[in-house]
Every structure is written in C-alpha cells, then in structure tokens.
C-alpha cells in the first residue's frame, strides 16, 4: 500500500487539496478533520487534485461529494483535476445515487400524533387483554365442567415446575426476611422494654402481608417469566399455529393447566414462607431478646388468631391467577422476532409484580372494611 496523504495549500485566494495514494473509508476521518479547520470565507476557488491518487472507494467519493456541495452552497468555484477513469466513474456513481435518493422525504411525527398513537395502542392492548381473559374464562368453565378433559399430567408437571422447584428459593427468601424484620424491630422494642411484642408484630405482618407478597414476587420472577418465554418461543417456532391447525386448543392445553397449577401451588408456598419467616424471627427473638422458643410459641398461640393465617393463604390463588395469566398473555403477544420475546418477558414480570401489589392493596382495604 502506497503512502496516502492530503496536502493543503493556500495561495492567495485559491485553495488546493492534493490527495495522494488512496482515499478510503480508513482515512477520510483524518482528512475531514484537516478540511474542516480550513476557513472557507476567503477562498474564491478550490482545486481538488486527484492526479496522484490511485484509489478512491465509495465512502471517499461520498466525502468528496459532500465537500463539493458545501463549496457550491457558498458559491465557490470547484475544479477537479483527474485522469484516472476508475476514480471518475466512482464519483459519477455516487452523484447519480444522490439524485435518486433525494425523493425519500420522511414525515415528521408531531407530538399530538404521537400521543394519539400511544393512546390508541394502549386501548388496543387493553381490548386484547380483555379478549384473552374472556377466552380464558370460557375455556376454564368448559374445562372444569368436563372432568375427563382435565389434563392432570400437565397440571402435575407444572406444579412440580413452578411449585416444588421453587421450594428452596421461597424458603430461603422468607427465612431471611423474617430474620431481618425481627433483627430491625428487636432494636426498637428493646428501647421500650416491650420485648415480648415481637411475637405480635412478626405474627401479624408475616402471616397477613409479607409471606404472601414475598412468595408472589419470587414466583412472578420465576414462573411468570418462564411462562412468557416458553409460550413466546412456541409462538416464534409456529408450534402454537401447529397446535391450532391440529385442533388442539392452546387455552385448554397450555393456558388453563398452567394457571390451575400455579393456583394450587402458590398457597402451599405461602404456607412454607409463613413457617420459614417465623422460624427466622424466632431465632432472632431467642438470641437478641432472650425470648425462648416455648415462650414465643405460647405467646403466639394466645395473641395471633388463626384468621390471620387464612387471610394470607386465601390471597394465594388470586396472586397466582394474576401472575400466570399475565405471564401467558405476554407470551401470546410475542411477535415473530427475538426482540419482542425479551420485551414481553420483562413486561410480564414487571406487570405481574405490580398487579400483585395492587391486588394486595385491594385486599387490605377490603379486609379492613370488613373488620377481619
């Protein structure tokens, strides 16, 4: 490869650019820096000298064309000196493409148009979710009314996947939550000498709120995303289309079993979370506040009514329905590309956790109004 360089000479009001060697994609960045510094105000004419240039690629030609256009907009005369046929052909090619590509004018989107489109899309999204819920309920009723159609094998498989396999992560998470909660409140309670009230506090907050919500969040992250990814991938590989054309209703084969499985397994996981969180709390109460296990359990059975436990458990199927239906709905919304798989998986987890928390808030208000 010969040495390439750009010599810039200014003689009176005449600018000469002398290109040597090659003008390619690799050196136009440097050249354009050199050219940009030249002040064009005093120039009246420009010579572009290609006589010592032996190769020009298309990027180089585009660079030259745009420089020439800049000059002509300031009405500075340009003259090119060139004998090489290939270089002239390349310049010709670039300028001919330029003319044909001018016509594509992009329409600018105004703010109002954007708001309108987003609103309409959200409206369609809502309608399609309602469509999903409607079809889901029709199939669910049909399913439960004809017990011979219930796919026990799939349900058992999904209970194993989303329930049994989540046992350890749910146990560990809730154990740590119980530990931390007790540890933080122990410090405060000690100040007032109200050590024994740790039992009331832990019992109420864990059974009623923390265990169900923490379990639901863990399950949303685990199973909600798995549902979306599984069903989304099946959509991309046309497995869902294949099912439909073979006469298998995907709602009956994929959707309802997953929802039922999660509705069965989530209350059980909440029970596990209750036990583990209380165990964590009990250990801290023992170490930090000197409340023995016997005392803890004795106090627990006298102050915590059994209804608090059931309130926590009853939330399970509701949370499970939300997590599973959002996960599956998002899976069905996946389009034929990998981008939308990632987008919908993220959305499914975020929406499921949000829905769980909203649902929990509604429960809270309802139970308080009912004085339960």
């Amino acid at each position: 490869m010969s040495d390439s360089s750009l010599d810039i000479k200014i003689i009176q009001n005449r600018l000469s650019l002398i290109f040597k060697g090659e003008l390619t994609l690799l050196n136009i960045a440097d050249y354009s820096k050199q050219v940009d510094v030249i002040s064009l105000n005093q120039q009246q004419s420009v010579y572009i000298d290609f006589r010592e240039l032996n190769f020009l690629d298309s990027a180089g030609a585009v660079f030259i064309r745009s420089f020439m256009k800049k000059l002509s907009s300031r009405s500075i005369a340009v003259e090119t000196l060139c004998q090489n046929r290939d270089i002239l052909a390349m310049l010709e090619l670039v300028s001919s493409q330029e003319n044909s590509s001018i016509t594509t004018n992009k329409n600018k989107i105004t703010l109002l148009e954007k708001i309108g489109k987003v609103t309409l899309n959200n409206y369609y999204g809502f309608i399609s979710f309602m469509h999903f819920i409607g079809e889901l309920f029709v199939n669910k009723f049909h399913y439960l009314l004809t017990p011979k159609n219930i796919r026990y094998k799939e349900i058992a498989f999904e209970i194993n996947e989303s329930g049994v396999k989540a046992f350890w992560i749910v146990s560990l998470t809730s154990f740590l939550i119980g530990l931390v909660l007790a540890y933080q409140s122990a410090y405060q309670l000690k100040i007032y000498g109200a050590n024994i009230f740790i039992v009331d506090m832990l019992g109420l907050s864990i059974l009623r709120e923390l265990a169900p919500v923490i379990t639901a969040i863990v399950v949303a992250g685990r199973s909600g995303s798995a549902f979306t990814a599984q069903i989304g991938a099946m959509k991309i590989t046309q497995e869902l289309d294949a099912m439909r054309t073979m006469g298998f209703n995907p709602y009956r084969f994929l959707v309802v079993p997953r929802i039922l499985a999660l509705m069965i397994s989530l209350p059980i996981l909440i029970f596990v979370a209750d036990m583990m969180a209380l165990l964590g709390g009990m250990i801290i109460a023992n170490i930090d506040l000197g409340i023995s296990t016997d005392l803890f359990l004795d106090r627990f059975s006298s102050v915590i009514a059994v209804k608090h436990f059931f309130i926590g458990i009853i939330k399970g199927p509701f949370f499970a329905f939300l997590i599973a239906s959002i996960g599956i709905y998002r899976g069905l919304m996946v389009k034929d590309d990998t981008q939308s798989l990632g987008f919908n998986t993220t959305k499914s987890v975020v929406e499921a956790i949000f829905a769980v928390i909203v649902c929990d808030a509604i429960f809270s208000i309802a139970f308080t109004s009912l004085k339960i």
């Binding site: 046309q238 497995e239 289309d241 294949a242 099912m243 439909r244 054309t245 073979m246 006469g247």
Partner: protein, 247 residues
C-alpha cells in the same frame, strides 16, 4: 372431479394494506396445486386463511365443503382433523420426541390402544423415509431435512385427505429437496392426497405441480398448468421463469 378448495372474491386487509382484492381459485381432488408469486404478495397469508389461522375481510373460502366464514367451533374442530399442515420450519413440539409428536393427535382424538397407535406411528415414520431408530430423538437433536420429514409424518397422522405445505423444500440442500419432491408425489399416489403448497423452488414445481396459481397485484393473474404460465405477459412471470431457465 370434486372441488376440494374454492376461494371466491377474497379480500384481505393487513393493517392498512390490502393484500388480496377479489381473489378466486379452485383446487380439484387429487391435484398438487402450487401458489406462486413475488414475496410479500400474500401467499402464506392465503394459506393461513385456508387453515383457519387468520380471518379474511370478505369473500368466501370453502375447504372440503365447509364455508370458513360461517363455520361453527365444533365444525372447525372436525375440519381440522381432515387436513394436515406442514409448516415451513416443521413446528414440531420441542418438548416431545418425534414419536410422541406423531402420536399426539392419535392419543388425543381417538380411542385406539397404545399398541395400535404405536403401529400406526411406525407406519407413518416408514412412509416418509425416517429411520425408526431416530423416532425417539427430540426435534432439537435432528437435522433440518429430518425435521421436515417428521413434521410431514405428523401432518399425516390423522390420515387427512388434504395437505397444506408451506415452502416444503426451503432450507434443504438440492439432493434432499429432490428427495422430498418424490416423497410428496409418492404420498399423493399412495394415499390419494390433494396437496396445496406454497413454494419458491422452480425445480420442485416442475417436478411436482399439476396446477399453479400465480398471485400478483392482489389478484390471481394465472391459474392452470405450469407450462402455459410462461405465455402470460407479466413482469413477475417473465423474470421468475427466465431466471429459472438460465440455472
């Protein structure tokens, strides 16, 4: 001969874009019928409408005597058992082995014994030219050509009279593609199938098709035998067939 598929005055809208505008075609019993046209002309969309994966805007599609626009759920379920579909990439259920894939419709829709189903599945595996030993592999463990054969076997599971093929030879090497063509011809003769396919493979078309419909500009511009198609004065036909001859 009986009409198996009859499409009349079909209109399809895709977003704001009209895909089909007054499209007519007729497929007769025992034919291998091909849909041809430039990409984006709505061949696959038409196929998806015929197998009830998509709805048209207006017009009528009649498949095996069922009118698809006014079909009831139970009738649609009946109809789905009477045709088979081979998707472009097979669309085998990835959680099931080849054998389970083929057996699935039989297990779900019939009361046959396990042994009987096994025998039927073995027959289908043999007829498409797969090794019985490969049948216990999962779809991810087999090659593209085998996937197509396995998917073909699955689409034949319920002994349909009508088969839809979406680009059956795409993604196959030339030798496997020719093999697949002769397999399709063999199956048509053995099982008395009517076959509707979308294809881009010119050799495969000359080898297999009895009739062809060419879609361009939202309409069928030609319907009939492949040899007469060349006489039509249309830009797509000229470029498509001239390019084919030079190969």
């Amino acid at each position: 001969m009986k009409n198996i598929i009859k499409v009349r005055d079909l209109k399809t809208l895709f977003g704001d874009k009209m895909i089909h505008d007054g499209l007519n075609l007729t497929v007769k019993e025992g034919e291998i019928y091909g849909l041809l046209g430039p990409s984006g002309c709505g061949k696959t969309t038409l196929l998806r409408e015929m197998v009830m994966l998509q709805k048209s805007l207006s017009g009528s599609i009649e498949v095996l005597g069922y009118e698809l626009n006014s079909i009831r759920y139970a009738e649609a379920q009946e109809l789905r058992k009477k045709f088979g579909v081979l998707f472009q990439f097979g669309a085998l259920f990835s959680s099931l082995t080849i054998r389970e894939n083929i057996a699935l419709p039989l297990v779900e829709f019939t009361n046959l014994s396990r042994g009987m189903i096994g025998e039927i599945v073995d027959f289908k595996i043999n007829i498409v030219g797969l090794e019985v030993g490969d049948a216990d592999l999962y779809p991810s463990q087999i090659s593209g050509g085998m996937k197509k054969k396995a998917a073909l076997a699955r689409s034949l599971a319920m002994d349909p009279k009508l088969l839809f093929l979406d680009e059956p030879t795409s993604g196959l090497d030339p030798i496997s593609a020719r093999e697949f063509d002769s397999l399709i011809l063999k199956l048509r003769d053995l099982l008395g199938l009517t076959i509707m396919m979308v294809s881009h493979d010119l050799t495969s078309m000359y080898d297999t098709l009895d009739s062809v419909a060419i879609i361009d500009n939202k309409k069928i511009i030609y319907e009939g035998t492949l040899n007469n198609a060349i006489k039509i004065d249309n830009e797509f036909i000229r470029t498509f067939f001239r390019k084919g001859e030079s190969i």
